[in-house]
């Protein structure tokens, strides 16, 4: 690879530059599906991060043993193992969160972020870099869906992580915690994120010119 990669830049790449939700637009199913409350957004993000870090590490460790032709089934086996572990862990220790997330935990198996990082990064890079990539991407995803979930919870339910936030006279906008509201809020957030990205790229272009 022409560009020299270090752990920090790989981590920041996932967290900001190629943020899976806001830039790559991957994993939108849980992004819209579970973000009705801040706690489930955060829980879903961390569960996905755990799976992503572990699967990235093991795929990277095994990358020289897995034949090219059967890599996809191998990825599925590795990812599914960790999803099962996380699922059982949540059921045992965080039953409330587990029931709030429902089938979305099991569906991490087919989450395209996890798959895309296995295929595009972990299969080609060293274990240490793969962990950094998994952490960056996972936390980038967590941050993005937590922001989305908090916005939806505050305006759609008047609470933030279950704590009542709005004055008593506030009538919550119930549409925001319904599926439609997920798409609308995500669209509006993407406008803000793209505007910020444009601003940043303009600024860096000006710096280079000077």
């Amino acid at each position: 690879m022409a560009k020299k990669q270090n752990i920090l830049s790989v981590f920041l790449n996932g967290l900001v530059t190629e943020n899976p939700t806001f830039v790559l637009m991957l994993g939108l199913c849980p992004t819209v599906g579970v973000t009705t409350a801040g706690s489930s957004g955060l829980g879903m993000g961390l569960a996905t991060t755990a799976v992503l870090v572990c699967s990235n590490l093991f795929i990277s460790l095994l990358r020289n043993f897995i034949p090219e032709k059967v890599r996809i089934p191998s990825f599925i086996v590795i990812i599914a193992s960790f999803v099962t572990i996380v699922d059982l862990f949540l059921q045992a220790f965080l039953p409330d969160l587990s029931s709030a997330l429902g089938s979305f935990v099991a569906l991490i198996v087919v989450n395209c972020i996890v798959f895309a990082r296995a295929e595009a990064f972990a299969f080609k890079n060293s274990p240490l870099l793969s962990i950094a990539d998994g952490l960056g991407m996972g936390l980038g995803f967590t941050g993005a869906i937590t922001i989305l979930a908090v916005i939806r919870e505050v305006f759609g339910n008047g609470t933030c992580f279950g704590v009542s936030l709005m004055p008593a006279a506030y009538q919550p906008m119930a549409i925001l915690v319904q599926p439609v509201g997920g798409f609308i809020t995500l669209g509006l957030l993407l406008i803000v994120v793209n505007a910020l990205r444009n601003l940043a790229s303009k600024k860096s272009a000006r710096k280079e010119a000077a």
Binding site: Q171, M173, Q178
Partner: protein, 318 residues
């Protein structure tokens, strides 16, 4: 302007501007608004004023902020504001009107490219948004304040009970006169059938809207209910709820209805059919806005399949 024939040149030109058309629509909407104020009192007038003002203000602020040409003077925001207000119950709080206007103008109209580019009717989408968010406020239909007004359930809710078999037709507390003058519960601009029909006929005679959409819409509803509940039920259904307002003023929105004649007939029949399905088979008594919104989304497809082939094009085999 209403009756597009998609042909090759030469074309006739008509001296119709957006501004002129929108002003005529406002004029046609006026009787329904005046009736609403008489029937429901001062708060109805206040809501109409708030909706129109905030729609115009939203359009102005958005276009200024985005350094676009300000097109407030084309009156389209006024029409959206009026239609939105007519879809609110007369006791709605002021902020409902403001939130609805922001949704209609900014979220539905301007974000998709302004006038002519929105894919759903702004006023109706805002109403649907408000209805889902604050259903208790949006579904509380105050009775009219005029003497001898029909109190209790709205005509549509009463008819719903008849359809469900829990009430009898001769137990209904309203008659045709009540429905025509609008002295019954409902949103503030939909109850007075005479005023809406007057405005609608004006638009059709002036050539602003195509007669095909309202006619096929209402005919479909009438025929469906004729088979479901008889002639009296069909007439009552035709005159109550938001059907007339929707058929004349909202289903005929240029940007969100098909441009071919046959496409408009299909559009009207679709609206009528879905309205029938919602009014009969769902929990809610009224389905006009959702039926129209559904057909709005179908419009590009209807246009695609009803577009006449250009002269000389050979039909593709396969």
């Amino acid at each position: 302007m209403s009756n597009f024939a998609v042909t090759s040149s030469p074309h006739l030109r008509k001296n119709a501007t957006t501004q002129r058309i929108m002003m005529e629509v406002c004029l046609a909407l006026a009787p329904a608004g005046i009736a609403g104020i008489i029937l429901f009192g001062f708060n109805a007038a206040l809501l109409i004023a708030i909706c129109v003002a905030s729609c115009v203000l939203c359009e102005f602020v958005w276009q200024k902020a985005n350094k676009q040409q300000v097109t407030v003077s084309d009156w389209s925001a006024v029409v959206t504001g009026l239609l939105l207000a007519y879809n609110l119950p007369s006791n709605a709080p002021w902020w409902i009107a403001v939130v609805g206007s922001v949704i209609a103008i900014i979220l539905v109209k301007q974000m998709f490219g302004g006038i002519g580019s929105n894919f759903m009717n702004p006023a109706l989408t805002a109403r649907a948004f408000l209805f889902i968010s604050w259903s208790t406020i949006m579904a509380s239909y105050p009775a009219s304040i005029v003497p001898d007004a029909v109190t209790g359930a709205t005509p549509l809710n009463a008819l719903k009970n008849v359809l469900a078999g829990t009430a009898a037709m001769d137990g209904l507390k309203f008659d045709y006169v009540d429905l025509l003058i609008g002295s019954h519960g409902g949103v503030l601009g939909e109850t007075c059938a005479i005023a809406i029909i007057l405005g609608g006929l004006y638009l059709i005679i002036r050539g602003i809207v195509d007669w095909r959409i309202p006619l096929s819409f209402m005919a479909t509803v009438f025929v469906c209910f004729l088979f479901k509940g008889g002639a009296e039920m069909a007439l009552y259904q035709l005159l109550s709820g938001g059907l007339l307002l929707g058929a004349f003023f909202m289903a005929t929105d240029y940007a969100t209805s098909p441009i071919t004649g046959i496409g408009r007939v299909i559009f009207g029949i679709g609206c009528g059919f879905f309205l029938f399905l919602i009014r009969v088979f769902t929990d809610s008594a009224e389905g006009c806005s959702f039926a129209i919104l559904f057909m709005n989304v179908m419009t590009p497809m209807i246009d695609r399949f009803t577009m006449p082939r250009p002269f000389g094009e050979v039909k593709k085999h396969g």
